[in-house]
Point group: C2
Chain length 770, copies 2
């Protein structure tokens, strides 16, 4: 058991490393040549341009204004300054609501921390159980503050039960308010938004095959009959997966060509050569530039051919379509109703944003999806509980003996003492770490296999799985100190009322471990996030070897995005720890509060200056966030029931079970009350929006606006190349680069979402909406 | 352990009692004076009239045609003769589909029985385990045929696993086919049906209060705005609960008045007297006829006053309304979509049939419903697991000592040996039996408290609860031979993999008990059902004391109805027993098959000749039936896993767990594939029906047709009294009473469902549907 002193030292080290990261960030961000790494969002919005246009050569790369270094923590208040409404406008609702997860952490845990320190810490500290029990051992200070210090059967435990009620009620109150707020924000966002194609469009899947009609005709006839007053137009979905692959391949070849051409232009004496074999390691030597030019030409031909084929071949038309309606009301009605007798045909659903569509999955038939879900559920079960088996076998191979057996020729090398110790010390850990790094990717692939049709739903599903994995393997794994497989065994062999005891007894003992975990993963990890080391390195590499034009430089930026599927489950772990330890070891709470505070500031900065969201789901993830905080509450109740039953206070169990039942009821109440706002679109809202828009802008012709909104991005990209010039000119005439601080924070229509509507001509309507 | 001989004797006794019941029924049904008890359905449809019109006095009461007694089992083939389509027309889809539950039992268990006897019985019988183990004891013949006879760790158990797979797959196949069939029948029924008000109507609840407008105005404005093209009319719901009570009270007084008047007319010498106190036991003696006449007059005044109040007072208008649309499409859209931002306001749902509405619950607000559900869930938990506590305390009171203590004045009476033995032998059992008889009523009251708005959903909810109660207290209670409370204790204290063992070991030992149970409850119980002893007695009592006119006689008939909430859970118990014992003790299967066969014939007869369904939910209960058979499958898997793990064949567990996972997946698949047909109304169907009807009968004016469809039955009843004459005349002109057998089976539009549409004038339409 660590003493308060040990924890203090660990806290010091982690605070220091966090401070170093923040300092490094503060210095790096002021250097002009890093500007595109730390402020890509503003570049993408066209509100900031490369600093290379003015000033001396040195100034282009290094900031020599020493006054700016003195205010190196300035970014923090700056990040907090932007009001929420502006933030929504600037970065989208998803990002703004994502920040509220940290905020809700603060809202929940700051009062709980104060209450716990005011009530529970004195109650725990004024006992002498541990002193009596452990006369020989120096008792840990932290344990003195925890529930372990209260003697068995003491009436003081009623304080803990009352506090458990207080904490649960407070959390539920905050959750309720927040759910209401987010639901309103979502509806407000949907109302206040500009016209967007997905408001009028429904994704129809599993169109039944018809021997006499093409898919397009079947769709048109069906909707003309069943939605006669509101149907407007539709676009069938093409299977352009192969085409997309070819285009991607050509792009990579083009990058290499650029690289070699740049190399040649710098050193005209020698034409660059390359080998044609695997990764350029072996094979025939050829002239790299010529080789790539011919390759690209070949690919271009292939692409043209494939493009032709996709557009003509009826086999490449998938039984799915995006159907657009004359009004939001029509789309809302179609999305929420069942169309056909057979509920697995003509499946209608709100169309995701065009950016959000996951095109590869649009053609999977219903039965196949049902089977895929089963397979993935079983696979995930095995992944969670048995992942340790392959890892362990690889680890066995990664020992000295294993390696010598597998690759005898390496024997001489391995026997060197230094290498030997490295292998023994690091390799097994690295294998596990590698697995954990790839886990989100594995989970994402699993979700893709399940057939979700939008990127946002893929990420939500992956997040759920990642959370469950963390709950079982990180939380329970650390508490019960065994692999998930051992746990499964334990739980199967234990009786139902032994399980909470096992957890409850172990929880207070692992407090110091989790405090260290919070500091390393939470404090230092978050501080490292803001440094953006990987994008920084990659940007400078690309900038050196590939960039020729301003456009290339834009492409070299990698702002990244929030990646909900990795980030949110990690936050949830802190909610879980905070809830479980709130009544047991209140000492842990301040560490959680610091985490939430720091993370809030850091991510607010990142969202304002760096991340570029790939899609907008209008906070569709909030029900998941809400549900997982409820799970944290329930786990805390189970742990407390177990703990108190070992403390000879079994009569507490009914009280805490009541609390758990009330919590579950609260969850169900919230689900019925607020979840529909995230799943359905109320007709009242749709009518309101329709009426407003009709009054404001009655001549707008929807049909051409919606006609091409949902074409596969491969086709769009090629069109973009031609249209881009026009768009750019328009944008440039609107936007004047400015250095004024206030201007930097002022919202301007985002280039991404505004482009398509701006570039379309406003024609005379063919049909007016009745 | 009973031998085959014992079982044979028990079977003989039960078969004999079943035969006696059937014989009594066969004789009683032929007597003309019982005609209205055994053929009320035909009287209600107007296809049969009292046999008193012709023939001699004796013939009116006793059937003297001895030939008819010779064919006393004739009703059986007769009951089976009516084809299903005619049955649907005659008794409604609910009844026809209810019969399919018995049919599905036959479809599942007949092949399983053959397979089990062909494969499992020989495999079990050709072992000698029991003979070796029990050399002293005479081993039971039944156990020799069961899985207990196979030695531990034998490879023969693989036969049982393969059979478990075969039985599960066969059951799932039958279930799938049946679900498809029933879903199609439901849709077919909805399509082929005549115009019915509920097809156009949506029940709107939780209309938000508006300070400026009445509920009626708010509803009208809301739907004119949000469903501008399809909204037609609406009816607000009045709180007429008090009025209904008064009317009911008056009716009962009227009955008494009739009784006394009849008494007086038979014996003019003495005017009947009565006491005014409780149940007429004490109080002032008054003239009964005068007393009732004044009472009725007083009530009539009160009713008129209350009626006035309900119609005028805005407080008696509830925030709910039945909103009707111009087309089925409009109603389908409104029922399936969310109307308002706040999903707890403007709740829309398909309106139940007018007969099916449960008026008392229409005004409960959303939050109150959420709280009521919680309370009832907790109450049901305690009812299931702790019901034995109050019963036991009452039983303790019902012993000799308890009674003497509670009521010392009874001491002398109790000490009489005969009464003493009766009390000791029967009273404790009777207390439990009384509780079990009232259980469905208790569950129904609980469902009503939860706020369901239709009688059919009330019955479905009660059925679910009754099933769970039976599963825990009858099945598990008999298997583990302890009260549910003991079980709860056992399960909490046992580890997760001990629980299946506990069940698995006990299951084969209880086989003979369940065989007896099936014979008593299933065979003899079903045969007693057809005798209808209670309605028979009540009818003759009423006929003697109350009936003056033909109309009174009609009211004295009590055909009853299927009462899904009691019947279905009882059938499900047989599915459960069949599934669990199919692999373990195949001897039990023929008893199950006989039950399903007998019950099918009996209930088919009852549905054709007796029951008069109170409502039509178009087989909305099928998903519940399907789900519970799946539960039976899963319980059988758990029991087999437990059993085999005690037989040293633990490696079977993964195989059977796989089977259980597949079964769960099958359930989810079916749920997604077929359940929507029972919850939603596809737009395609609605459009088809609308178009057809518009083409066929374009001048029909919907508005007056729907205007008064959903008024509270109290108002309707009073109107009926005035209108009835007209309806009767119309009906009589159509229907000529006939004695021809074929005519008796020919469907004719039911009086109940056809009346309202026939009695309404076909006016010129005000609006034509666009």
């Amino acid at each position: 058991m660590a003493t308060l002193g040990d924890i203090g030292v660990a806290a010091g080290i982690n605070l220091l490393s966090a401070f170093v990261f923040l300092l490094a960030f503060a210095i790096l961000r002021l250097q002009p040549f890093n500007d595109r790494v730390y402020f890509p969002k503003w570049y993408l919005k066209g509100l900031r341009s490369s600093p290379s246009r003015s000033g001396t050569f040195v100034k282009k790369f290094v900031n020599l204004d020493f006054r700016s270094y003195l205010r190196f923590l300035n970014w923090m208040p700056e990040a907090l300054k932007m009001p929420e409404l502006e933030l929504i406008d600037h970065a989208g609702l998803d990002s703004a609501v994502y920040l509220r997860i940290y905020l809700i952490g603060l809202k929940i845990f700051v009062p709980i921390t104060f209450l716990a320190w005011a009530v529970l810490v004195p109650v725990n500290y004024t006992n002498k159980t541990l002193e009596l029990q452990l006369k020989n051992v120096t008792s840990s200070d932290i344990d003195k503050l925890s529930i372990s210090n209260v003697p068995d059967g003491s009436d003081r435990f009623w304080t803990h039960i009352v506090m458990a009620y207080a904490f649960t009620f407070w959390t539920c109150y905050v959750l309720l308010k927040e759910y209401e707020k987010v639901a309103n924000m979502r509806l407000q966002f949907l109302v206040s938004e500009k016209r967007r194609p997905d408001q009028f469009t429904v994704l129809v899947r599993n169109v039944p095959p018809d021997s006499d009609e093409s898919v397009s005709e079947t769709v048109e006839h069906f909707f003309l009959v069943n939605h006669p007053d509101t149907y407007l137009t539709h676009q069938v979905v093409c299977n352009a997966n192969k085409l997309a692959k070819l285009v991607k391949k050509r792009k990579s070849k083009q990058n290499w060509l650029d690289y070699y051409q740049l190399k040649y232009s710098r050193n005209n004496a020698k034409r660059p050569l390359m080998k044609t074999g695997f990764l350029g390691l072996w094979g025939k030597k050829v002239d790299a530039i010529d080789h790539h030019i011919t390759e690209i030409k070949k690919l271009s031909d292939e692409i043209a051919e494939e493009r032709e084929r996709v557009l003509k071949d009826p086999k490449s038309i998938m039984p799915a379509a995006f159907v657009s309606f004359k009004s939001r009301w029509g789309a809302a009605v179609c999305a929420q109703t069942q169309q056909s007798r057979n509920p697995t045909l003509w499946l209608t659903d709100w169309a995701p944003e065009p950016r959000d569509v996951y095109w590869q999955n649009l053609s999977i038939p219903y039965v196949s999806i049902a089977v895929r879900r089963l397979i993935m559920a079983v696979a995930f079960f095995f992944l969670t509980f048995f992942f340790i088996i392959p890892i362990a076998s690889v680890q066995a191979l990664a020992t000295i003996e294993g390696l010598e057996k597998a690759a005898p020729f390496l024997k001489a090398l391995i026997e060197i003492p230094f290498i030997k110790s490295v292998i023994q010390g690091f390799l097994p850990g690295i294998v596990l770490k590698l697995f954990l790094i790839f886990l989100p990717t594995i989970l994402m692939i699993m979700s893709k296999f399940e057939g979700f049709t939008s990127i946002s739903s893929l990420e939500r599903r992956s997040a759920t799985r990642y959370y469950l994995f963390n709950l079982v393997n990180v939380f329970l794994g650390s508490v019960i100190a065994g692999s998930a497989l051992d746990q499964l065994n334990t739980f199967l062999k234990q009786s139902a009322n032994e399980i909470p005891k096992t957890i409850g007894v172990a929880v207070p003992m692992r407090a110091t471990f989790f405090i260290t975990y919070i500091m390393v993963d939470g404090w230092a990890g978050i501080a490292a996030e803001i440094l953006m080391l990987k994008p920084l390195i990659i940007y400078h590499l690309k900038n050196t070897f590939l960039v020729k034009t301003e456009k290339d430089r834009e492409e070299a930026m990698n702002p990244g995005s929030l990646s909900f599927n990795v980030g949110e489950p990690r936050i949830q772990l802190y909610f879980l720890l905070g809830m479980v330890y709130a009544t047991v070891t209140p000492v842990l709470l301040p560490f959680i509060v610091v985490f939430f505070g720091l993370a809030y500031v850091v991510f607010r900065h990142q969202i304002i200056n760096v991340y570029n969201q790939e899609y907008e789901s209008a906070a569709a993830f909030w029900p998941d966030v809400h549900g997982r905080i409820i799970i944290a509450l329930l786990v805390s109740h189970v742990a407390l029931i177990g703990l108190l039953s070992t403390k000879h206070l079994a009569q507490a169990a009914p009280l805490l079970i009541t609390l758990a039942v009330l919590t579950i009821w609260f969850y169900r109440f919230c689900k019925a009350r607020y979840e529909p706002a995230f799943v359905r679109y109320p007709l009242q809202e749709a009518v309101m929006k329709d009426t407003l828009e009709r009054a404001r802008d009655s001549n707008f012709n929807l049909k051409p606006y919606l006609q091409n909104a949902y074409i596969h991005p491969v086709f769009k990209e090629e069109d973009d190349d031609e249209e881009e010039e026009v768009v750019k000119l328009e944008n440039e005439s609107v936007l004047v680069p400015t250095k004024r601080q206030s201007r930097r924070n002022t919202p301007v229509p985002s280039k991404m979402s505004g482009a398509s509507s701006q570039s379309l001509p406003e024609a005379v309507p063919e049909h007016s909406v009745p």
